[in-house]
C-alpha cells in the first residue's frame, strides 16, 4: 500500500461511518473547509450536533487477532471543546471493516492516561489497538465496550 492509498482508505472510512449514522436516523454533513472535524452529525428535530472525527487503520494480523495504529492530533486530544469530539476508530481487515470503536475525547484521553507532558513536542499521538480474540486492548486498557457502541447516537425514528 502506498501513502497515497491512505487518502482512499480514510475517505472510505468516513463514508462508512456516515452510512452508519444515517441508518440510525442521524443526519450528516461534511465541512467544506477541513478544520479537524470530519463529520457533523445532527439530530434534525432539535439541531443537536455531534462533532465526529473518523480515524482509519489497516490492521496487521497477529496469531489471535490484529494490531491497528491510529494517529490522533495531540492538541485535539488535550483540548476540551463544546460540543466534544466523538472519535470513530475504524479498523480495516483486507476484505472488510472489522471493528468500530466509538469513544469521546475525554474518555479516550482518560483511557490512554494521556497527560500534557506526554504530548510535549509531538503533533500527533500514536494509538495502538490490539485485538486478542474477542478483546480490544489499548495501552493495556480494555476498550471492548466501545466497539460498535452507538449509545451517544441512539436510533432516531422518523
Amino acid at each position: 500500500m502506498t501513502r497515497m492509498f491512505n487518502n482512499y482508505i480514510g475517505k472510505a472510512g468516513q463514508f462508512f461511518a456516515m452510512s452508519e449514522f444515517l441508518m440510525r436516523g442521524w443526519n450528516v454533513a461534511v465541512p467544506e473547509v477541513d478544520r479537524g472535524d470530519d463529520i457533523f452529525v445532527v439530530q434534525d428535530s432539535d439541531g443537536l450536533l455531534r462533532r465526529v472525527q473518523v480515524k482509519t487503520a489497516q490492521a496487521s494480523r497477529t496469531a489471535n487477532g490484529y494490531v491497528a495504529k491510529f494517529s490522533i492530533p495531540t492538541r485535539q486530544l488535550l483540548s476540551a471543546i463544546t460540543p466534544e469530539i466523538q472519535y470513530v476508530l475504524l479498523v480495516r481487515l483486507p476484505a472488510q471493516w472489522c471493528d468500530m470503536l466509538i469513544i469521546d475525547r475525554p474518555t479516550l484521553a482518560a483511557e490512554l492516561n494521556f497527560t500534557e507532558t506526554m504530548g510535549d513536542g509531538k503533533t500527533t499521538v500514536s494509538v495502538s489497538v490490539k485485538r486478542q480474540n474477542n478483546i480490544l486492548l489499548c495501552a493495556g486498557r480494555d476498550l471492548t465496550r466501545f466497539n460498535w457502541n452507538f449509545d451517544r447516537f441512539p436510533t432516531i425514528r422518523h
Binding site: S79, A80, T82, F114
Partner: protein
C-alpha cells in the same frame, strides 16, 4: 494533590473548561465524594471583555468542575491553563 489544573479553551461564544486526566484521577482518588466532571461550557457574550467574566470563572468554575467542597478546594491551588502551550490564564490561590 496540591494543585488542580483546569484547561481553558476559548471559543467564539464562550469557554470550555476541562479537567485534564491527571487532575480528574487525583480528585477521584483523594475525594471519592466529589464526582468531578471532565468539561464545562460557559456561554458569554463575545462582544464583552473577557476580563468582565474572569472573576466569576475563578469563583465558580473550579467548584462546579471538581465537585469539591469549599473547604477542600480552599486548600488547593487552582491553575487555569492553555492545554497546548501551558500558558496560564489566571491563577487562584486560596
Amino acid at each position: 494533590m496540591n494543585t488542580v489544573k483546569i484547561h481553558v479553551n476559548k471559543q467564539l461564544d464562550g469557554i470550555t473548561f476541562g479537567l485534564p486526566v491527571a487532575s480528574l484521577q487525583a480528585i477521584e482518588q483523594e475525594y471519592p465524594y466529589a464526582h468531578p466532571t471532565s468539561s464545562l461550557f460557559v456561554y458569554f457574550d463575545p462582544t464583552l471583555d473577557f476580563d468582565v467574566y474572569s472573576g466569576r470563572f475563578k469563583t465558580y468554575v473550579p467548584s462546579i468542575l471538581t465537585g469539591l467542597k469549599e473547604d477542600d478546594l480552599a486548600r488547593l491551588q487552582v491553575m487555569f491553563l492553555d492545554p497546548v502551550t501551558g500558558k496560564q490564564f489566571f491563577a487562584v490561590t486560596a
